[in-house]
Amino acid sequence: MTVYNGRIWLMLENNELIDDIDTDMIYHNKYLAITDKSQMGQYTFDNLKGYEDFAKKAQPNDIVIVGENFGSGSSRQQAVDCFDDLGVICVMALSYGAIYKRNAINSGYPILTIKELDRSGLQSGDTLNIDTDSGTIEKDGLVIGRVQPLSTVQKDILAAGNVFEYAKGL
């Protein structure tokens, strides 16, 4: 059973989950020459209006919740790795940019796709419990939403650690 339990960040603009957050907003191109993952987390979202101080406030075990087409734009792996460096345990989005999805899956970073989520009464700082087997999103023991089941390849790569380890078992 895979469960993610953590404090959430609802990434909002005008009370709506933000769509089309591109990789320059997640991890700006001025930091692209950085290859050391432990240097990446500090720059997360510093080009996303309203969330420039995200990296300072984020804590290990946090969960980031965003809208449609998250991670559109460039192919930079850093836009995935920065969350892992911060200790953010998973990202939940309504949908993902295609390259971002591959990068996250192949590096074994958990990204979940929201099928439905009742945001009434939900705010940043709340704790959620997400079970990827049953597909439920729970708050205080009550089901408030669902995530899409993980694809077989995503499950297998997550279990192996990353695509390199996964391929050894093929």
Binding site: D22, A33, N47, K49, S75, R76, A98, I99, R102, N103
Partner: protein, 416 residues
């Protein structure tokens, strides 16, 4: 059952059936890494495959185009990491003078219609312009393909896009492209392949096809695949040095959605700052003063694009106070532009002409915008902060050139 082009290409490169939604393993004909991401690809190779060789060095390339030549020590270091690795592994490097990698792959005939290629470039799906499958990837994904020669893909659904009408004389492939991006937005094609149909598409030259395919990424599509016409096959054959075959979807292929883009009476188009899909007619914003103009990029950096800009500015001067720059996509294109006198026209008009590369998009090859600065760019992205701290509009080479002359957003017709 009939197949779309992406299904056909994936089928040809796999032992499994290429059905939409299914995850299958696909052989990759060409594997590449840029100076962007390349150093991390090397790092991944050394971490996960220490002492091991790449799967096939004759199919593996480095292409430097992001920061050329390096203007930061960090980029210089990264490029040198790639060079040293490539030397040891006997992998070919298209170095800082070669130009944009995706264009080089086409120009050198390394990828052909029906082929598959991957690289650390989110616009590698430009290969759809010749009817090939291209996918931009992160550095771990690419390192894996360097070693395995293949990778997994979820076969995408395909959207059929019918372009209705003929392109008006004052519009170019870029206006058609922006119209399409504005019509589809970022969600209609999310995670899907696109195929384009219609008389205007059939007659588009390779340069126009590259422009259209390059912005599949801004529509969140996997790829925009175009069925090669005779002229494209001819160009690919010449690049390869031997005849190449075409590719077409089956007449009874299944599409997950049909969209029509109406270009009857189309006017020159422009994306407003922040969102490539925030597209309006140029004439609705032609009172906006312009501080700088960039003509180039993988979207509009071909010979034909830069020539079109030159024809607008021929015999005229850039408005004093406006900075204009031109960056040809490739070295070969640069040489042709130079020999044909096109660069001279642009320099005479007051443009700065730079060495080939990604230009305005990446890390400031030809400078960046400052706070409050308004730029017209022929590139594909105007996300906040992408090309500096200013405001970037996206438009055709003709509109960009006209805006440089007028000192405000303008169509080419306003210059004449």
């Amino acid at each position: 059952m009939g197949q779309t082009m992406v299904e056909k290409i994936m089928q040809k490169h796999s032992d499994e059936d290429a059905e939409p939604g299914k995850i299958i393993w696909i052989d990759i004909d060409i594997r590449s890494a840029r100076d962007f991401g390349g150093a991390n690809v090397v790092k991944n190779m050394n971490t996960y495959y220490p002492g091991e060789k790449v799967h096939d060095r004759s199919k593996t390339y480095f292409t430097f185009d992001c920061n050329v030549p390096a203007n930061t020590i960090a980029y210089a270091n990264n490029q040198h990491i790639c060079r040293k690795y490539a030397k040891g592994e006997e992998i070919k490097v298209y170095d800082v003078d070669a130009g944009i990698g995706s264009h080089v792959l086409i120009e050198e005939g390394l990828l052909l219609p029906g082929g598959t290629g991957v690289g650390t470039d989110s616009h590698l799906n430009i290969l759809g312009s010749i009817g090939a499958f291209g996918q931009g990837m992160g550095d771990q994904d690419i390192a894996f393909v360097f070693k395995a020669g293949k990778t997994w893909f979820e076969v995408p659904e395909t959207i059929r896009i019918d372009v209705d009408g003929q392109l008006p004389a004052d519009c170019s492939a870029r206006d058609l492209t922006l119209k399409t991006v504005g019509t589809l937005g970022t969600k209609t094609a999310l995670g899907k392949a696109q195929e384009f149909f219609g008389p205007t598409i059939d007659s588009l030259d390779l340069s126009g096809r590259i422009t259209l395919s390059s912005m599949a990424t801004e529509m969140s599509a996997i790829i925009a695949l175009l069925q090669p016409n005779e002229a494209v096959l001819q160009e690919c054959s010449e690049a390869r040095g031997s005849p190449v075959e075409g590719i077409a979807p089956d007449p009874d292929a299944t599409y997950s959605a049909n969209v029509t883009v109406d270009i009857n009476g189309l006017k020159p188009q422009i994306s407003r700052p922040g969102k490539p899909h925030d597209v309006v007619d140029v004439e609705t914003v032609n009172d906006v003063p312009v501080d700088s103009v960039f003509i180039g990029s993988c979207t509009n950096g071909r010979y034909e694009d830069i020539k079109a800009a030159a024809m607008v500015v021929k015999g005229k001067k850039i408005k004093p106070g406006v900075f204009g720059s031109v960056v040809p996509a490739t070295r070969k294109g640069y040489i042709r532009l130079m020999k044909d006198g096109i660069l001279e026209i642009l320099v005479d008009a007051g443009f700065l002409v730079s060495n080939p590369g990604c230009g305005g998009c990446a890390s400031g090859q030809i400078g960046m915008t400052g706070e409050g600065q308004v730029q017209i760019s022929t590139s594909n992205r105007n996300y906040t902060g992408k090309q500096g701290a200013g405001f970037t509009y996206l438009a055709s080479p003709e509109t960009a050139a006209a805006s440089a002359i007028m000192g405000r957003i303008a169509t080419a017709e306003e210059v004449v």
